[in-house]
């Protein structure tokens, strides 16, 4: 089967083209560095199938970061039959820089001029025929997003494969041309593949090449010294880059005709938006306001605080009413997320009731009805109810990402992040962590500094992922309903902020103690703002929903069944029922580990039902959704058994929480613990792979220690306000300790 590689600059639309060619649904984002590893798919529309490989974006074939190494190694070692070089039509000169390097490989190549729709919109035009002639490569105008000329591109690529291509370089006429020719001869004699490419890199003093061919590197250096420099100094890398750009300007730039000459004083729409959104002082506050607005639109039960502003309306909303009132009005007008949540919660409650009646009609025993309705459905429904809110939140995040705003936030945060020891580059994996820690940890490969990368991997789980959201929402809802404290959206937002603050403080400590080092340089090309693609948004949401539902109907259901059995049977394997739950296997295990959580507020100080928190924290290690699923299963039994509650759905969880005698600070501490502690199995496995086996045990200890410490601080500070001063004193002593340690370490290093 033919194998084609997609190569191009970061954020040039390679993955969008890959999806269009292969029908895949790979994650596409409007920022550089989304793809960190090669990805394969098959193009099936032609006469024969073609293997398509999507490579991480690169600006040149001299790699600095792990994902750039992946692209270079693939192009050099895997010998693709053809390279499809994606060139952004609106940024021709800069993109052709990579093209001039790819031309130095003996591989058939086609240039795909992407985003030509944007070019047309601007009224600009590229003379494709002239470009084709000058570059000596087939050039096809495409729009990956609108899937325009995709099949034509593939046909041209298949045609190109039939004609073997000889490598050429635009540097032959440059000052280093003779040095490159000499090095090429030497490498040819040595039998090296793609000798022209390697010769250029040798002259450029590329680190990898110098290590691979030390003798030829020395010879090339001596040749340059004797024949080119004549005693003058020359930076070979800079000279080659300069020669490439000069050639591009001289030969290719004239193929572009602009409708209007660009004026340096005239601002584009993107520039105008950036003047406000990335303003030096207002940029970050605007970002925080946008985030809060998103949380408000997703989680608020009192939209725009209308219920508080108009007391009569608020009172009307709080009085119980029919189905419509239950769904749309809680403390005021509900937000979209809450409306969908209420509707689904109502639906799952009705299904639960129907299941119970159906089983009773079939003559099922009380235990089996309990297993299905309380055990399986109670747990599953309590998790599933949160799916709409998760999707609404991710819809907003995807809009921000796709529009190009998130890349700008990374740029703005660079200034702040540097004070914590990492560059703004760390922001993109961190923001991905809000979705799922697994791809976020993998995405840290775009970071060049190894220590900075490891530190970032460690703090990614602190950015509350989608799986942790049900914990946040259920407990925040419980606090509001059972204790009448605060608003659900404010509590949720605050807990997210706590996660981010913990991550930043942890980074500061790590980068000044065990992982010392300066933040690496951060250069990122800012994408232009554009309207998010509806298809991409839906793909993002589908991806999230599919994963969530798959997990809910496999691991979560299985966990619910196990939790129900263990909470309804005693050690003698005797059925205890709802009334005897406190003597069950699960209760005894929960009571055994309960004291561990006493400093955190949800340990031995709770009533005899307090063991549910210990058990939920334990099951959360399998999958974070399990925390609320366990609550759902146990609440269905506890509420009905002990309390005789008639309420259904997530309200049962609230009733159970209130019955344990837990306080608000302890509930916040419970959220903090689950948010910051060891993540799910998948994230743990990924962290192990990313930081290495040796360092992984420290990462594990770091998670346990941090979650325990932060939760203790949250609980004690909330419960006894004066302890805040104790924690401030501890923090001050720690800062002094770190400063002294650094001074000592610096002295040691110098000596």
């Amino acid at each position: 089967m033919l194998k084609f590689a997609l190569a191009g600059n970061p954020n040039s639309g390679k993955t969008t083209l890959f999806n269009a060619l292969t029908g895949s649904t790979a994650h596409v984002g409007n920022w550089p560095g989304v793809t960190v590893d090669k990805r394969e798919g098959t193009y099936k529309k032609g006469d024969e199938p073609v293997d398509i490989v999507d490579l991480p974006g690169i600006y040149s074939l001299s790699p600095y970061t792990p994902e750039e190494v992946v692209a270079r190694n693939f192009l050099l070692d895997e010998h693709p039959d053809c390279i499809i070089n994606i060139v952004v039509a609106t940024n021709l000169e800069r993109n052709l820089y990579l093209t001039t390097q790819l031309m130095e490989l003996d591989v058939p190549m086609v240039v795909a001029l992407n985003m030509t729709d944007v070019l047309d919109k601007n009224g600009d035009r590229i003379d494709v025929r002239a470009l084709e002639k000058r570059i000596a490569l087939p050039v096809v105008e495409i729009s990956a997003l609108k899937e325009r000329n995709i099949d034509l591109l593939m046909n041209r690529a298949i045609e190109a494969v039939q004609r073997p291509r000889v490598a050429t370089s635009v540097l032959k006429a440059s000052v280093l041309g003779s040095s490159i020719a000499n090095a090429e001869i030497a490498l040819k004699l040595k039998g090296v593949d793609a000798p022209l490419f390697h010769a250029v890199k040798l002259v450029e003093k590329d680190e990898i090449e110098v290590q691979s061919h030390p003798a030829e590197a020395k010879a090339a250096e001596a040749f340059i010294r004797e024949n080119v420099l004549n005693g003058e100094k020359l930076d070979a890398e800079a000279a080659i880059a300069d020669a490439r750009y000069k050639y591009i300007t001289a030969h290719f730039s004239s193929t572009l005709t602009r409708a209007r000459k660009p004026s340096y004083d005239e601002l584009s729409k993107s520039d105008k938006a950036d003047k406000v959104l990335t303003h030096k002082w207002a940029g970050i506050p605007i970002f925080l306001v946008i985030l809060f607005t998103i949380f408000h639109l997703t989680f608020s039960e009192n939209l725009l605080y209308l219920g508080s502003i108009i007391p009569a309306f608020g009172e009307w909303c709080s009085v119980e009413g029919g189905v419509v009132k239950q769904i749309f009005f809680t403390d005021g007008l509900n937000s979209l997320g809450v409306i969908l949540f209420n509707a689904l919660d109502l639906l799952t409650s009705r299904i639960g009731e129907g299941l119970g009646r159906g089983l009773e009609a079939l003559g099922a025993s009380e235990a089996v009805v309990g297993l299905v309705c309380d055990g399986i459905w109670g747990g599953l429904a309590s998790v599933l109810s949160f799916l709409p809110q998760i999707l609404v939140l991710f819809l907003f995040f995807s809009i921000l990402e796709d529009s190009g705003y998130m890349a700008r936030v990374a740029f703005m945060l660079d200034r702040i992040f540097r004070r914590f020891g990492v560059s703004g580059r760390a922001f993109m994996p961190m923001i991905m962590g809000f979705g799922c820690s697994v791809p976020a940890m993998v995405n840290t490969r775009t970071m060049a500094d190894e220590r900075e990368r490891e530190a970032t991997v460690r703090v990614i789980p602190f950015f509350s992922c989608g799986a942790k959201m049900p914990i946040l929402l259920a407990i925040a809802g419980g606090i509001v309903q059972a204790f009448h404290v605060g608003n659900a959206d404010v509590i949720t937002y605050s807990m997210y902020v706590l996660g981010v603050a913990t991550a930043l403080i942890s980074l500061l400590v790590m980068r000044n103690t065990t992982m010392r080092g300066e933040a690496s340089a951060f250069i990122m090309e800012l994408p232009t703002y554009h309207m998010p693609s509806f298809k991409n948004l839906m793909l993002h949401l589908w991806d999230k929903a599919k994963h969530f539902i798959h997990k809910a109907f496999t691991i979560i259901v299985a966990s619910c069944i196990v939790v129900w059995f263990l909470s309804n049977f005693g050690w003698a394997w005797n059925y205890l029922g709802k009334e005897g739950m406190n003597d069950s296997i699960l209760a005894s295990v929960g009571k055994l580990i309960q004291p561990l959580f006493t400093p955190l507020g949800f340990g031995s100080q709770l009533s005899d039902k307090g063991w549910v928190f210990a058990v939920a924290a334990l099951t959360g290690l399998i999958a974070k959704e399990d925390v609320i699923a366990t609550f759902g299963t146990l609440a269905a039994c506890i509420s009905a058994g002990f309390l005789g509650a008639t309420e259904d759905g997530i309200y049962e969880v609230t009733v159970m929480i209130a019955e344990t005698g837990i306080t608000v600070p302890a509930l916040l501490s419970f959220i903090a613990f689950n948010m910051l502690t060891v993540p799910c199995f998948a994230a743990v496995a990924t962290a192990k792979a990313e930081v290495g086996k040796g360092k992984f045990k420290w990462t594990l200890l770091f998670w346990i220690f941090t979650s325990y410490l932060v939760s203790t601080i949250v609980y004690t500070s909330g419960q006894w306000w004066w302890t805040t001063f104790v924690w401030v004193a501890v923090a001050a002593v720690s800062v002094v300790g770190i400063v002294l340690y650094n001074q000592y370490a610096d002295k040691e290093k110098k000596s």
Binding site: T25, D37, K38, C436, H547, T554, I561
Partner: protein, 55 residues
């Protein structure tokens, strides 16, 4: 115990055993633990998914 009780209990036990076996099988095959079915949008860079490809 009525037939419906037996059917539901056996189905529940089989389900748990099935999920556990499937998870272990996936782990042995080197697939991801996240249960995404290895077709999630960000899967290509996933270390476990890679192991599966190499096999």
């Amino acid at each position: 115990m009525k037939p419906i009780d037996v059917i539901i209990i056996v189905a529940a036990v089989l389900f748990v055993v099935g999920v556990a076996t499937y998870a272990l099988w996936r782990k042995k095959k080197g697939k991801t633990d996240c249960g995404c079915g290895c077709d999630c949008g960000s899967c290509s860079g996933c270390p476990s998914a890679k192991k599966d490809k190499e096999e």
